[in-house]
Symmetry: C2
Subunit: 381 residues, 2 copies
């Protein structure tokens, strides 16, 4: 089997289209010249459309975690109250990160359960500089109520810092309408580029809140703004040029598809996965409430009775398809299928078909067909 | 003129060989799988040879500045005395960066002049947690006395954090023999890869000194070590996969050439530039003392009387060659030629020939020939 031709159906890194890969093979350029500025400007323009914002947009040469730290590290000083919502692995990471800078008030919900707004409002009433939340919790496949949290934060005069790493580019995000002061996305998720860059929008209120004496240096958002506002748009430190080539190309693909069509395609893809799981009697992992929904970019399911999800992952790998298992204490207990970026319906159907085969072989299901049929029905609607 | 086919003779980003560019067009892989671990292990092995060290080596998805911040940010707490040596733009940056974390004792020498060891020793006698210095000061073309500084720091029980961004991979660096506790290199300089990664070695003493309560998060070197020490070598956060492909390929090129041959080639290349400048009556910018030398990877020259170096840069650009001007207050006053990584003697000679043409046209020199002849003489030795 060709290891280089593995179908990545995990929640990032996603498969990168050939034209994006080819874009990276262009020669290097002077990162302080007009050519680079034009690329950066073009990326920022399209990203503003995806984020639905008029806030400043920056691209950092670093993963999503880098941009999250840029936000929290520039805003939170050590006595600042930061409410950190956690209902999964990435919420936990955001909380840990925030704890290195501010005085964190953790608002924890069991992984896989939904966020409740009442305890958040109670904490907001006591005052907080910022609220952090993961919009689309990749580890549990749940979509958290970003709009409601954004509006609540605003009501009580707090900033809202949102990890949109696996929602932006694949699902609805309205940065300005929801009042998201900082929104972060990773290059290797719904945007469809290789890993290594992260992009974020920063509101004026967020900039006004950066009053600390010592900001982080590499992740200094004021330095990003200063460099971006120059006559020739620049980054404060040397950018990862080939990844900017790739980002620009993948943003062009998004522009060509159109965000509305892209979001609808993501919604249908994830609905097809859920329909197939339902047809096989496989339960979804998230427990929803009135404020939450299943993720439209990554689906998390409970492992069937008697089968460790790591076994499923290994069996799938044998047929050249990479799906994800559970993280931390969820390892072995859940499996996750990413349906992000430029993953096609054909890719989704191949994956579901192969899962059905593995489940049939191990007696989880009694017949082949129902899962893919259910998925096709959703996709052909 | 083909803008994509510009000869980059600036001190990074350097031209990237076609086989390194091609390496980036491979499909994405699971960054938590065995394939990625094998790539990371291979890179660390070759880097240890280049650094001449048995210390831990890590690759960060971020520019050289990111690795410098990782070192200083993990080691320096706010009351720690950090001696920051500055004799150029990058020394200044290192000092500014260190000031965000520790109590910096600046040891400043005019840009372009040499570092003096007496004032350093006087400061070391008063005790310091660490000394920071740029080995090869890219902004002024001077090679600073890393060996002596390393040994002095050791004598007084201080750590030595060295910016080797434009020396490692192109010039002699002996991390263990010199007692360099943290040495940093950028991917886009003498290593010959695209920008976006930086690599650093970290000594046990440096790890022991990381006693702060809150380390930086994305740049947490303890987290790097924990992930690298796992059964499958990993990075703590998602790595920039295509840049790792490129780094591995460029390290293979280095291995094939051999470090001794590579360093000799760099020495000769820079000597050829200096010989050509001398033949044209152009003065070198650095003022040397007994501890310093001209850089073997980037040469900095004074602009000839009556000609702004920005004019020279623009004239060179017309013939498809990018050289560098001066930074900050040196803008217009000096010009710089990088001869790093896989830049060939042919590239160096083309550049010198073209400079001679520009100088002849503007009356700086009276005849064509002597500069390239002097360079050829050095290269053919």
């Amino acid at each position: 089997m060709d290891l280089e031709d593995n179908l990545l159906m995990m929640p990032g890194p996603v498969p990168v289209p050939p034209r994006v890969l080819r874009a990276m093979s262009k020669p290097m350029i002077n990162h302080r010249g007009a050519q680079f500025s034009a690329i950066y400007d073009d990326c920022r323009r399209i990203l503003a459309d995806i984020f639905k914002t008029e806030n400043d947009i920056f691209v950092l040469s670093g993963s999503g975690t880098a941009s999250m730290e840029a936000a929290v590290g520039c805003i939170a000083d050590k006595d600042d109250r930061i409410i950190s919502i956690e209902n999964g692995k990435f919420g936990e990471r955001f909380k840990d990160l925030a704890s290195r800078y501010g005085s964190v008030v953790p608002l924890e919900f069991e992984w896989g359960t939904s966020v409740d707004l009442d305890p958040l409002e109670a904490q907001l009433q006591e005052g907080a500089k910022a609220v952090t939340m993961v919009h689309n919790e990749t580890s549990t496949g749940i979509l958290n109520p970003a709009e409601q949290v954004g509006k609540l934060a605003k009501k009580y005069g707090s900033l809202f810092i949102m990890d949109g790493v696996t929602s932006l580019g694949g699902d609805d995000v309205f940065v300005d309408d929801w009042g998201v002061d900082v929104a972060v996305v990773g290059s290797q998720k719904c945007i469809g580029a290789p890993p290594g860059l992260s992009m974020l929008s920063v509101s004026e209120a967020a900039f006004d809140a950066m009053k600390k004496e010592n900001l982080p240096y590499y992740l200094d958002l004021k330095a990003c703004k200063k460099s971006a506002d120059k006559e020739k748009t620049q980054t404060p430190y040397t950018p990862a040029i080939p990844l900017f080539y790739a980002l620009q190309e993948s943003l062009h693909i998004i522009e060509e598809e159109g965000m509305d069509a892209r979001i609808e395609r993501h919604h249908k893809g994830a609905a097809a996965v859920r329909a197939a799981m339902d047809a096989m009697g496989i339960e979804m992992f998230p427990q929803l409430n009135e404020y939450s929904a299943y993720s439209n970019t990554v689906s998390a399911m409970k492992a069937p009775a008697g089968m460790d999800s790591e076994t499923l992952k290994k069996e799938m790998m044998k047929s050249g398809i990479t799906i994800a298992g559970g993280q931390a204490h969820l390892k072995g207990k859940i499996f996750r299928i990413g349906s992000m970026a430029n993953v096609s319906y054909r890719d989704i159907l191949s994956t579901l078909q192969q899962i059905e085969v593995v489940f049939k072989k191990s007696g989880v299901v009694s017949e082949l067909g129902p899962a893919t049929e259910a998925a096709i029905e959703v996709l052909c609607k």
